[in-house]
């Protein structure tokens, strides 16, 4: 055997070679293999969120398109439901145009469709066929509630249009005017109330336009309808003792409860441009001092403490600032828990606590003053806007304030709710009706028919 022939590779010697070759191969291949795999893995890792995002976006898009489709369908449905309204509106517009054209034609031909009436100080424009009715109604309202008014600048500039009909004529007033329109089915009493309310509102605006002290004091219109039974109930049930003293016959207490002496906050009068900060502050301090005086006249210390304790706004402020040592919470504690009267007063001044009887009740006093004053009382009330409420009321009513307050108190007392005072006569009436129906029951012919 030749040496070469005998040079048979022994398996044991081949193993390292194979292992080496395998290692080299592996070392060479691994990066080759690993790189794409890694890249794939990296690519896959990089692509996965993108895919997920894309999927999410796709889902969102689908959802959005679905919801959009739903919204569009919904809007279509809504639009469809609006179609009858649109048609109706168009019809109305068309019929209004036709009426306008007819009115213009009539006007050109000299045929009047509306009439202008004068009742008292009122100017009323109404369709010609309703002029008699309008005259009756306005005359009735004017005579009943406003006949004592001799002069009114606002009323002189105001035009009222009146229509009590389903088929309305277009009436255009250059200055706007008050349009009083009522459907045919509305009851006459409601129409009368509507006219009265419109006139009362006009006088309210006139009072407000004067910027007078009385206008700040009452807010609303003294000519509106007042329920004196409710007024009595309110006065009798306010927490302030001064109100009940008023009902008991103390005219001074009435004035106090109504806040006749209430100071006017400086911001009501407005701030002068030339006023310095110090001057303004001095005015505010002056107001606070007067407010403090009024508070002690309106409420007893116990009542003032109860007002602070029961005031939701103050309680809220106190809760928010609790534990922080801010003045609200400190003063609240001193007032409610420590029973320190000054602390209560300071808090009440801060919230501008009002007199016990509100503006609605004050209106009844102004209404009474106008009634007492008779003819020209309204003009007198507006004559001097700078006058305090007491002076203005005395001047309008032509009687001293005590007499006025006594008369007003008597009026309120005469309207005291009867509660159960009439229980005996009403009970007797009920018994009579029971007897009547019992008689009917006994007269029934059932057995004879039976």
């Amino acid at each position: 055997m030749s040496r070469a022939g005998r040079r048979v590779h022994s398996p044991t010697r081949l193993v390292p070679g194979i292992a080496f070759s395998a290692f080299v191969l592996f070392a060479g291949l691994v990066p080759a293999i690993a790189r794409p795999a890694e890249a794939r893995a990296q690519q896959s890792t990089a692509e996965q969120p993108a895919r997920e995002q894309a999927a999410r976006e796709q889902t969102t898009r689908e959802q959005t398109s679905e919801s959009t489709a739903r919204i569009v369908a919904d809007l279509h449905a809504r639009l469809d439901s609006l179609a009858p309204l649109l048609i109706e509106a168009e019809d109305r517009l068309r019929s209004r145009e036709i009426r306008d054209q007819r009115a213009a034609r009539d006007a050109a031909a000299g045929i009047a469709t509306v009439d202008t009436l004068r009742v008292g100080l009122l100017t009323i424009i109404t369709p010609i066929d309703q002029s008699g009715l309008a005259k009756d109604l306005f005359t009735e309202v004017w005579a009943e509630y406003f006949s004592d008014i001799e002069q009114s600048n606002t009323l002189a500039e105001t035009v009222f249009t009146f229509q009590w009909s389903d088929d309305r004529v277009p009436i255009h007033v250059a200055s706007g005017g008050h349009h009083l329109t009522f459907d045919r089915w509305v009851r006459r009493s409601r129409v009368v109330t509507g006219i009265r309310d419109a006139l009362a509102k006009t006088f309210e605006l006139e009072l407000k336009s004067t910027n007078s002290r009385v206008s700040y004091w009452v807010f609303g219109s003294p000519f509106r309808e007042h329920d004196y039974r409710d007024t009595y109930r309110f006065i009798a049930t306010t927490r302030a003792r001064v109100s009940r003293n008023c009902l008991a016959g103390d005219a001074g207490a009435c004035g106090s409860a109504l806040g006749l002496d209430a100071p006017l906050p400086p911001f009501r009068a407005g701030r002068d441009r030339n006023q310095s900060e110090e001057e303004w502050r001095a005015l505010e301090e002056q107001y606070e001092a007067r407010q403090l005086e009024s508070l002690t006249a309106w409420y007893t210390p116990d009542e003032r403490r109860a007002m602070v304790a029961g005031n939701h706004m103050l309680a809220d402020l106190r809760n928010r600032s609790a534990g922080r040592g801010v003045p609200w919470s400190v003063r609240w504690g001193e007032c409610v828990e420590g029973d320190v009267s000054e602390a209560c007063d300071a808090l009440l001044v801060q919230i501008n606590a009002n007199a016990p009887l509100p503006a609605q009740i004050r209106e009844t006093l102004v209404a009474y003053a106008l009634e007492r004053g008779g003819r020209g009382a309204w003009s007198r009330l507006l004559e001097n806007p700078e006058a305090p409420a007491i002076t203005a009321l005395e001047y309008a009513s032509t009687v001293p304030i005590d007499e006025l307050l006594n008369g007003w108190r008597t009026l309120i007392m005469s309207n005291r709710p009867d509660t159960y005072s009439a229980i005996v006569p009403r009970g007797a009436l009920a018994v009579l009706w029971v007897l009547f129906f019992s008689f009917l029951a006994m007269r029934s012919t059932r057995w004879r028919l039976g």
Partner: protein
Amino acid sequence: MYKSMLFLHWKQIRPALALTVVAAFALPLLMVSSLGTPPGMDAMSLEAYRIVGGVDEWLLFFPLLAIAIGVTLALSSWNWDHQLNHVYALSLPVTRWEYTLQKLLAGMTLALIPAAGLWLGAHLAAASIELPEGLHAYPNELAVRFSFAILVSYAVLFSMAAGTTKTTLKTMGVILGFVFFGVMANDFLATYYPYFDRVQIVEGVFEWMMHAPGPFEVFTGNWSLIDV
């Protein structure tokens, strides 16, 4: 005979009457239950006008309960007569008016039971709250009004139930016809006579019935347990 009428009626209406007594007793108590002091507020803040305002919403239930009691009593009083075709009544040696009177009185006696329940409840309710100055409780007056209201509704329904079905239907027909055709006739007349613009006949009649001296004034008056 009155006793047997009373017993018969009592036997029939016992469960319903028990319910009405409970309702009448509880109503004043429920009314004042909302008048407590809000949490965190001083007792002084229990303002009088809030009390009056707070009880207002309950006032409607008093006349409604009275009507319900009156109707229940009236219908139940004739129930067994209608069921037995008046055989029992006809077998008695009394005239019809005497029989009806006894029945009426028996029902009226039973009407006093829920009224007494309300009286007790109202007194309890009034005692359970401290009223501020200026307000008073009227438990006796409320109970008296309640009794009258029950009696009136009882008498009206009793007289209707006492008649034949035909008579009852006729009566109801006349009332409904008056309401329906009265309004139409009013509108029609108003087109020719302006006077009818001012006067609403149906409304006027209802107004008259609901206010003195009308029969139903007792339902529309003041029902306050607490007032000035």
